[in-house]
Symmetry: C2
DNA sequence: GTCAAGTAGATTGTCGACAATCCACCGGTA
DNA sequence: TACCGGTGGATTGTCGACAATCTACTTGAC
């Protein structure tokens, strides 16, 4: 499901640890809304549900804490993160800063990932058609922005992006209505791409 | 041996968890150079040395992983992070991006933390006098930049700063010679402060 | 001598159990 | 009734033990 879809089949890739599987399961449950904001994450309950012990659940929860999906209170445990309006603004503003810097860097770098960005806009239009749920659309959108940070030539932009990617997804899913017209959303990405191609830093 | 014998006041405040204590101990050992780059962090050895079990050590190591001080390889364990020249450049460039954005935000916010910044420059000069080791100077320097990110009005700048603060300290300690003349270092911070006071975004 | 397979030791990954801590409920008292 | 301390249940924090995995060494064949 990740961006590493160019595998040649030699690597089994089953080496994914239990912790990562638990983390993905939990993050999906949170982003999809199955676990609601403020809800407590009982280590024992989750461990029983997933058929493991508490140790992997605990480590997975710590991973999700870094991703901003859950908060941790000493001696009280983990809770699904809830966002105030101010936190939403702060997250959005921070994303702008990071991605703007990434775009500038990408332009200076020559825009290696432009073809991938074009392709991703096509994907955005495709998932805008009826029959695709919102989560799919959100992930396609995120992938576009991920490609920008990925092509910036400084892995830290991608790392920072990944760090806030999940909570960004979560907030978008919470707000939801931004995606009323997915086709229009796809169109809003075109000027960014054109600015990159033209090498215009300010336009982006 | 351990520093558990300090509290004489009313507030015990000893409520700091074991994990945090282990994490601080390890981070100090790494930043100070006691543990060298590439060295393996054996969970059992550290646990025995600190008189705990492996569980807190493991959690502490995960915390340090987020701070970029150690790397983790599945089924192999934790290692003290080592930096390539490119990674150093990337870290430095990223810091510029973050702090520049923070300064802009701080100026727009009215520069509430300007007095604290002034005071911190005095501190920088004080620790530049003989008798203070480099680690103290580095931490005073970091504190100046921390205040900038703190005053930006968006907690995410501070959070991101904290996330890369320890590895920044580590890289500075590794390079070392940047601090040949600590007084000159202190002076380099003055123009930044003046730009903030003047409200000049580009100068910063 | 070189290389490969096998093996022993050490380290991490996971587990179940116990101790420490928190939280909600309950009963007494003014 | 309102307030306060005690108490029981539930949850997290830590621990020691075992299983899975990796690493380094030995052994043997070519």
């Amino acid at each position: 499901m990740d961006a590493d879809s160019d595998a040649d089949g030699l690597e089994p890739l089953d080496r994914e640890g239990l912790v990562q599987r638990v983390a993905r399961r939990l993050s999906k449950a949170i982003v999809s809304g199955q676990l609601r904001a403020g809800e407590r994450l009982s280590e024992s309950v989750i461990a029983r549900q997933l058929g493991t012990s508490r140790a992997p659940v605990r480590e997975a929860a710590r991973l999700l804490e870094n991703s901003g999906l859950v908060t941790y209170q000493p001696n009280r445990g983990f809770f699904v993160r809830s966002f105030t309006a101010a936190e939403l603004d702060n997250l959005y503003e921070f994303r702008i800063v990071i991605e703007l810097a990434a775009v500038r860097r990408l332009i200076r770098e020559g825009g290696r990932t432009v073809p991938a960005l074009c392709a991703q806009i096509d994907v955005l239009h495709r998932v805008a058609e009826p029959g695709h749920d919102m989560l799919t659309q959100v992930e396609a959108d995120m992938q576009f922005h991920r490609l920008i940070c990925d092509g910036a030539g400084n892995p830290r932009f991608l790392a920072t992006f990944e760090q806030i990617a999940l909570e960004t997804e979560l907030t978008i899913m919470l707000i939801g209505k931004l995606y009323d017209d997915a086709h229009r959303l796809a169109e809003t990405h075109v000027p960014i791409l054109e600015a990159i191609q033209a090498g215009d830093e300010t336009a982006a």
